[in-house]
């Protein structure tokens, strides 16, 4: 019987333009190029109006999910972010990080169902900062926006997710951040089971999405797990389980739309290789992990080293060769100023 597309029942409204960008607190450290790249794509490729306000701050996501920050504080800080957005008369809030997106959905939903919480937050914000704030019209995640403009971007792309020699589509494992899809499934494209945000991009750009058993399993980030060393073993175990499950499919690379997922699936491959000598790629190396912006940027033909791919734990060169991206291997560790930086101590097998 024909495979039913239930995900079509889950559609959401994504703002078209006038974005107020809120940078993530940790993505810049994990994937330095991603956020700048996203803004570059919005402005240069899509000609969108996006504001990158320097006066923004944390959304308290990690603190809240690690039971360090009480919910009232979180609501008030989110309210302050919104008030900062109102200053630039923009109504579409674009949080760079998926945890912020999940938090915003949670806060907005709380305010919708419990108006007294909304009044309380207004009072707190007034007392603390003397500021007012309005509910944003739309909250869209960068991956939503790229997903929405995937066809437009395809037109501008130099490369596609196709293996240059064999011509077959690249086998791509997409991993959606749980805080994006699972907390409010009806508030996402494709719902919790089969989120379409990344899959849509991959399929649009000639790639092939892999549906492996542990597709929906946690990437291994888990705030409380990795924060405390005693729990860190659980965090790695989850990532290991995921890679064991995807190994038979021999994926070419993994793409994720959340700071934690991309970071940990990338870094933990190194840890697993060091600890247990296991790697998950055919020829005993690692599986490269990209953020969705990096993937888009690569296909648009940007210089990989400008995107910060050299900071990845799993070396990306094999993937670049597959796609056929033109790059200069020697520039890998050349700094902005043109001086060659010292090479990091690279793991021998990843």
């Amino acid at each position: 019987m024909m495979e039913k597309k239930y995900w079509k029942d889950y559609q959401r409204e994504i703002a078209d333009d006038d974005y107020f960008y809120h940078r993530s607190c940790i993505r810049q450290t994990f994937f330095p190029g991603s956020e700048a790249l996203f803004l570059k794509i919005l402005k240069n490729e899509l000609g969108k109006n996006v504001t990158d306000d320097p006066n923004l701050h944390t959304c308290t996501g990690i603190g809240y999910h690690s039971d360090v920050v009480p919910f009232d504080t979180t609501m008030t800080i989110v309210a302050r972010l919104l008030s900062q957005m109102n200053k630039s008369e923009l109504k579409n809030f674009v949080p760079s990080c998926v945890t912020t997106f999940g938090l915003l959905s949670e806060v907005l939903d709380t305010w919708k169902h419990f108006p007294e919480e909304l009044e309380k937050t207004r009072k707190f914000l007034k007392e603390a900062t003397g500021r007012e704030f309005k509910i944003p019209e739309n909250v869209a995640h960068p991956s939503d926006i790229i997903y929405k403009n995937r066809k437009v971007l395809k037109g501008k792309m130099k490369y596609q997710l196709v293996n240059k020699e064999t011509g077959n589509p690249l086998k791509v494992v997409e991993h959606i951040g749980c805080h994006y899809a699972k907390i409010f499934p009806e508030n996402t494209t494709g719902g919790a089971e089969f989120p379409q945000v990344l899959a849509g991009m991959i399929e649009a750009w000639e790639g092939k999405v892999i549906d492996y058993p542990e597709r929906r399993h946690c990437c291994g980030f888990g705030f409380r797990q990795y924060l405390i060393m005693a729990n860190r073993g659980y965090s790695v175990a989850n990532t290991k389980k995921k890679f064991e499950s995807m190994q038979p499919y021999e994926p070419d690379f993994v793409v994720a739309n959340c700071p934690g997922c991309a970071m940990f699936m990338d870094r933990w491959q190194y840890t697993i290789a060091e600890m247990e000598g296991i790697t998950y790629d055919k020829n005993k190396r690692g599986i490269p992990v990209l953020t969705h912006e990096e993937m888009t940027g690569l296909l648009l033909g940007y210089n990989p080293w400008d995107l910060g791919l050299q900071v990845h734990q799993v070396q990306v060169e094999p993937l670049l060769d597959k796609i056929g991206v033109v790059y200069n291997p020697d520039d890998k560790y050349v700094g902005k100023s043109g001086i060659k930086l010292s090479e990091p101590q690279r793991p021998k097998n990843i």
């Binding site: 495979e3 039913k4 719902g191 058993p213 542990e214 929906r216 038979p248």
Partner: protein, 343 residues
Amino acid sequence: MKKKNVIVIGGGPAGIEIAQILSNYSCNVTLFEKEPQVGGQIKRIDKLFPDFIVQDEMMQKLISNLEKTDIQIHTDTEIKDIEQIDNIWHLKTNKEEAFTADAVVLATGFKTFDPKYKEELGYGIYPGVITTLEFEDMLKAGKIQTSAGEEPRRIAFLNCVGSRDEKVGNHYCSRVCCINAVKQSIETKELLPNAEVFCFYMDLRMSGQFYEELYRKSQEKHGVNYIRGRISEASSTFDHRIQIKSEDTLAGLPLKMTVDLLVLMIGVEASEGTTNLSAKAGILGEYGFAKSLSLHLKDNLTKKEGLFLAGACKRPSTLREVIADARAAAFEVVNYLKMEING
């Protein structure tokens, strides 16, 4: 004395039985069935629990009794509207025909739960995930096989799909799936002796006569494995089998395995006809079932005079109960219309 008119809505076992009984009394009986032929949902079952009687032979007995009577049977006609005007019942069909009757019997039965609401079980997405009725089709064909046409090495049955489930709004137990799972597991082992069969249950409700013995026989003679745990997720593996994840709650450990077939024991819900007509007639009960006047003494009567209920339109029931209930309802109709038995 003018002959009374009785309309029976629904040509399942209940409808057939009550129509056939009423035809012996001084009344014209009209039977409406929205499907092309009578028989109802039970037609898809291969053998009946707990004694493995062949369903077709059994139903053929009921249907042949019906054919012996002079009842007008309207198949392919669905009753769209029902209304009582000073104790005459006016019904409209989907073919815009109108009918009147002194008494109406609602025997509109049940429908099975559509597992697409349990998307995490992958019904309709992974070919290895099928419903208990689809499995009965295979049993009828005498060949259990995967979508790729091979003999399955390992089969898992999952009970309570769409029953006792807050997420889909059915809090009740559908009564018939546990024993059906045990029956199907035995039939599987008889067709495929060296297949491994696993039944995942929350509680095994073996309440009927001979149910417990059947359960015990499935364990002892056929070696069916029972795992107390709820499969919460199914996904396809590299070799197109199904990986299921559960917890063995008695061992207190998570459990996973790959199976060739995952059979969902889908629960029972009120059929559309039951819900619509009950609503229109103002006798809508919980979960869309029809509400009888009182559970113990007036279970075939309703708030509305002249409107009777028979069979599974009230609640999930086994075939045995449905037939008994139809006979009880017939008695109530005869009583109400004070009819004599034909000479």
